[in-house]
Structures are given as structure tokens and as C-alpha cells.
């Protein structure tokens, strides 16, 4: 991973071209496809936010959906229950998710590895149960529908552009964080917490900050969901969704930055198109996962990158 400015320029040009393609794409797509793309952007942001914690921090963030759903509900409740201008809701959602990750994190980072994950599932399920049961405030399992999204981003196409812009901005910020000293050290913590501590890193504090960052961006994804879908429901915080996001990261490649985005696209498309033929689309997912574990343990993008590098430099092998 040499830091030659040439590769940086190349990356930037590729990224700009990609964004440009997505900017003109809606002109050629049906309304449904535009909606589907916006949903992929939202889910992709969610998966990337999980990967900040999972792939770069090596933490078993088993209940990431809670921060997503919490952000979505915060947006929805602000928009329906208060007369405040719309942008307040979109600022408050990530903040609320950040606060929730701080709370859950403070308790969980004391535990290591698997225990961290298990305890997070129980705390997250508690939040889910509250939202599921609190009919008078959250409408329980009915969810909240017909949320008055600000006019500017209400139509299908404008929601698409809003999601695209938010995704690109968030990806840029997250990439910056990954490449920052914090990110570098976070990867050190992932590889070897004990050694990190021995070079002067306060591992728990580092993990807590990492969790808050991941939670915050999940909150952003949550409010995007409200824009795209116009409704919220308790399933957004249910643990099965957390599992799905986890699979997206593994599928796409959790040691790559853009892998989870790919994973998200694959899962959303699978669910949509296989879901037309059978409600048991998860069977197909299961088969895909098995093939993945056997043939592409680094994930789809991880595989491509490793192949690409070893072709350019036969000596290079990722461990």
C-alpha cells in the first residue's frame, strides 16, 4: 500500500467517474429502479458504517441495526410530532444514534470479543422491545407511515439524489477517518489489542470512539431510509436485520473499504428479484453464502483486489 500520489489520483478519477454515472443514471431508469437504487445507497451506507467497527476495528458489532432504526425513528418522530423545520430531524438522528452507541458502548467495551457481541444483542433487543411496545409514542408494530418528508427531497428522483449525495459525503468522511491516525491505530487494535495497549493506546476508549463513529453513520443511514421509504417500523431495529448487515460486509469483503457497499447491493437485489418468485429468498442467500465461504473467504471485492494486486506484483500476498 505505497502512498504514491499517482494511485491517489487514479482512485479519485475513478470515484468521480462513478459518481457522474450515478448522477445521469436516473434519466434512463424506471421509477422502481430509481427507488431500488436509492435503497441500495441507504443500505450500502449502513453496511459501510458497520464495517468501520467490524472490518477496521475488529469488534463483533452484532446489533448494528439498533443504531440504524434509532436514527430512522428519531427522524420520523421529529417530522411527525414536532413542528420544527425538517433539517432539524436530519441533524438530530445521527446525534441520537451517536448517543445511543455511547450508552451501549460504555457498557459493552468492557467485555471482549464474543461477549461484547452477545451483550450488545441483549441491550439492542431492549431498545427494540421498547419501540415495539410503546404504542402511544411509536405506534408499536404498526410503525409510522406517510411521514411528511420535506418537499425538496420528497419525490422519487430527488430522494435518489439526496441519498446519493449523502452517501458520497459520508463515504468521503469515513474514508478520511480510515486513513487518519485514528484509523491506522484502530486497525492496529483490530489485529492485536494487547500489543496496541503496549504501544500506549487506550484500547477501550479507542473502541468506544470507533463504535460512536459507526453508530453515527448508521443514524444517517436511518434518516435516509425515512426519505426513501416514507415510513418506519420496528423491524428496522430487529436483530435479524443486524445479521443481514453483517452478511453484507462478509459478502462484499470486510477488509476492503467499498466491499460492504457491494455486499449491500447484492443482498438488496437478491431480496427484490428472487423475492418476486419465492418468499423463501433466504434459501438462495444461504447457498450464495456457502459458496462464498468456500471460494471467496475474503469477500467479493476482497477477492478482486487480491487478484489484481498479485497479478501486478507476484510477490504480494495478503495473509
Amino acid at each position: 500500500m505505497s502512498a504514491s500520489p499517482k494511485t491517489d489520483w487514479k482512485k479519485l478519477i475513478w470515484a468521480l467517474m462513478g459518481v457522474a454515472v450515478f448522477f445521469v443514471l436516473p434519466n434512463f431508469l424506471s421509477r422502481f429502479s430509481i427507488y431500488l437504487m436509492a435503497l441500495i445507497f441507504t443500505t450500502g451506507l449502513l453496511a459501510t458504517s458497520l464495517n468501520m467497527v467490524l472490518g477496521y476495528g475488529g469488534m463483533y458489532q452484532f446489533h448494528h441495526a439498533v443504531f440504524y432504526g434509532f436514527g430512522a425513528y428519531t427522524t420520523a418522530l421529529f417530522l411527525t410530532k414536532t413542528g420544527l423545520p425538517g433539517w432539524v430531524a436530519f441533524v438530530c438522528a445521527p446525534l441520537a444514534s451517536a448517543l445511543l452507541s455511547l450508552l451501549i458502548g460504555l457498557i459493552c467495551v468492557r467485555l471482549s470479543k464474543l461477549y461484547f457481541g452477545m451483550f450488545q444483542i441483549s441491550l439492542g433487543s431492549l431498545v427494540w422491545a421498547i419501540i415495539y411496545r410503546w404504542y402511544s409514542f411509536t405506534h408499536g408494530d404498526d410503525g409510522i407511515h406517510g411521514i411528511p418528508v420535506p418537499d425538496l427531497i420528497a419525490s422519487g428522483k430527488s430522494a435518489y439524489y439526496f441519498a446519493l449525495i449523502v452517501l458520497v459525503v459520508c463515504l468521503m468522511i469515513m474514508y478520511r477517518i480510515v486513513e487518519s491516525p485514528f484509523g491506522r491505530i484502530f486497525q492496529g487494535v483490530r489485529d492485536n489489542p494487547e500489543r496496541s495497549e503496549a504501544v500506549g493506546v487506550n484500547v477501550r476508549k479507542h473502541q468506544l470512539v470507533g463504535m460512536i463513529i459507526g453508530g453515527t453513520f448508521a443514524g444517517v443511514a436511518g434518516s435516509l431510509f425515512v426519505v426513501v421509504e416514507g415510513s418506519v417500523f420496528p423491524d428496522l431495529l430487529f436483530w435479524t436485520l443486524s445479521l443481514e448487515i453483517l452478511i453484507m460486509c462478509l459478502l462484499g469483503g470486510w477488509f476492503t473499504f467499498l466491499g460492504p457497499l457491494f455486499g449491500a447491493a447484492i443482498i438488496v437485489l437478491l431480496r427484490t428479484f428472487v423475492g418476486i418468485y419465492t418468499e423463501y429468498w433466504t434459501i438462495v442467500l444461504g447457498i450464495v453464502l456457502m459458496l462464498l465461504i468456500f471460494f471467496l473467504p475474503e469477500g467479493v471485492l476482497g477477492y478482486i483486489i487480491t487478484r489484481y494486486r498479485s497479478r501486478r506484483n507476484p510477490k504480494f500476498q495478503e495473509g
Binding site: M1, G183, G188, G200, F255
Partner: protein, 249 residues
Amino acid sequence: MLQVKSLTKNFDGFMAVNGAGLSLEKGQVIAVIGPNGAGKTTLFNLITGQLAPTSGTIRFKGEDITGIPPYAIVRKGLCRSYQVVNIFNRLTVFENVQVAVLSRRKHTFNLFSNARRMAVNETSRILESVGLKDMAHSISGSLSHGDQKVLEIAISLGNRPELLIMDEPTAGMSPEETEVTLSLMKKLSDEMGLTILFCEHDMNMVFAIAHEIMVMQQGKSIIQGKPDAVRVDKQVQEAYLGGDDICYA
């Protein structure tokens, strides 16, 4: 520089360290030796804060550091390398050392600078001084065992230690690799003025470099003194297989 007094560590009734004492002056190279299970590694874990002692005190530069967490002890200038290779597997060699340098420079929570341009000179200098410069951009997990052990030391140097504690720096090394490590340790001591505390089974190496030797047996320190004095000490000879010459231990 470092004073350890009547240190004990009780693991559920087993006294791994039982009244260990140690004293180091600035610039010294001191070896801890003793049979397997004598408590050398536990002693090091206690000094560097990985374990909390049951009783006793550890003073570093006159300050009581007993029971302080590891990351805080490192920031005071007391660093360690490990017996078992303990590196950041998926990071490159360069990044491994850079992590330590960034941490020492207190950039731990710097979220928005570009890490690729930070601490580059210092990291390169360290890699050059230990002879790993050519491999700077290899993934560290793919290095040979000997190179990983050297990287181990390089990471510790990233913290710019005053006292470096090395747990069996040549464990599992070939004779050539041992030779390289030995000259590296000499260089660190002579040129950079590092104080070094290490433990080792290779007696040739111990007698080649140590200014003083401390001998442990069953968790106790039996003696600390000049190599010549330790070599002829009765108790030490008994500790090592019933009185044979220490070099055969």
C-alpha cells in the same frame, strides 16, 4: 531508573512471583535468567502493567507505577517487546511501527489528518536502524519469524523508550538471526543509550552483552550482580540442575 521491591503475584494460590527484587541504573543492560517457570515473564508482565501485582512496589524514574494500566506506563517511557511474536498482522511493516510513533505523538484520536503523510521520517529512520527498510511495504504477517522478531523490537522503538524490556528476544531464532539481534541490542545500548532489561535462555548471549545478571528461581530473585560474580555463585549453580556449570543449563 527502575526499582522493584519484594514483588509477588499470586495466581489462585500459585505464587508465580514470590518476592522478586530488581534494580536498574540508566544505561545498563541487565539480563534476567532462571529455569523455565521461574517467573521471568510474569515479572515482566507485572512491570509493564499487563498484570497487577498482589503485593510489592515498582518504581520507574522515582515514580510509583505499581498497578497503572499498560498504555499509561508506556507513555512514561517504559516499553516492551514480546517473547511470542506480537505484531499487527494485516498491516504493513511500515504501518506497524507507524502505529507506535503516532500513538507516542498523541495522535490517537486525530480523525481527519492523512496518516500516510505523518511520522514518515521517524518511522523510516527506525526501520533503517533495525534493517527492515527494504520490507517496509510488505504485509507484516508474511515475514519470516526472525524478521517479525526484529519488527517486534522496531515497534517498541516507535515509542521512543528510555527503558526497553525484552522477553526472550532471540527465542526460536537461527544462530545467524541471533547474531543480528545481538548486534542490534548492542547498537541500541551503545549508540542510542537505551537501558535494556531482558530475559534469555541463551547463556552465551547473556554473558556477551549483560552488564549485570539477576537470577530467578521459583519466583524469587536469588542474586543480582556482575556476570563473573553470578557465574561462580553457589546458589545459582544449584538452581541450574544441581550445580553443573551454568553454561550447560
